[in-house]
Amino acid sequence: MAIQPSDEDLMSSVQNGDQDAFGILVHRHIDSLYNYALRLCHIPANAEDLVQDTWLACWQHAGRFRPQKAKVTTWLHSILYNKFVDTTRKRRPMAVDPLGDVLDDALSETGSEGEPYVSGENEQKLLALISTLPLNQRSALVLTHLQGFSNQEVAKIMGLGLRAVESLLARARRTLKSNYEQDPANS
């Protein structure tokens, strides 16, 4: 069985302009990045744009990756997070009903084949509630529980201190629990 090159080896090749190595990296991590993007912005078309911009930035600025500072996945997620924050800032401020449109969109999320991403009703409700959290709490929660990053990695991705991430996570869980219990269907 052939040994798969590590992400760091592939990035090293990408830094020398190797498109094949870049292709392997894209196929290896695209689902993870898409999942994160979708949990951040809810809308599949926006998530696709975000993922595409992230990979383009990765290709164009591959020289800035430093393996001693972060893993490739951490670096990619941090690019995506920063791009999402930039996009959100540029847009006009939106008055979002926290349990209104966003919740409906999240509940009706479907994959490219029209199948729901998450089959269980409880899981769908939970995803819908996550989508109503403030941006930084949502990002910290998704990175930790859905993407499987450690708190330290989340701190690197979001450019925060470890204590700030722990605080965000605690607030996010508290808000989730509170909103979940407020739903009459769950009481």
Binding site: Q52, A62, L126
Partner: protein, 101 residues
């Protein structure tokens, strides 16, 4: 719902991630543009502070090395330097008594 239940439910979501549409990877790879030499140079320069400093100091270093390699002093300067040395030596001698010399 207690904390443990919440974390269990959140972790269950991890095992069921959304998958990127199949066309997305192809679209990304098809839209890849070639990085220009300028992009690569910029990346190399900005990757570490010492690289920028080294490039900035290069003209000064080059001038220094060229100056050193040009060898001897001009003739007029050499003659002036010799005369100054003689004058200083003479002044030095004046400060000693005959016995000390």
């Amino acid at each position: 719902m207690n904390d443990k239940e919440l974390i269990d439910r959140l972790n269950r979501l991890q095992s069921n991630p959304a998958k990127a549409p199949a066309y997305l990877a192809h679209r990304i790879l098809a839209n890849l543009d070639e990085r220009t030499t300028v992009d690569r140079m910029y990346d190399w320069l900005t990757a570490a502070v010492w690289r920028g400093l080294a490039v900035a100091a290069l003209p000064a270093m080059l001038g220094f090395v060229l100056g050193l390699s040009s060898g001897e002093l001009p003739k007029v300067d050499a003659q002036l330097w010799q005369e100054t040395e003689t004058l200083l030596f003479t002044q030095d001698l004046e400060s000693y008594t005959y016995d000390e010399i």
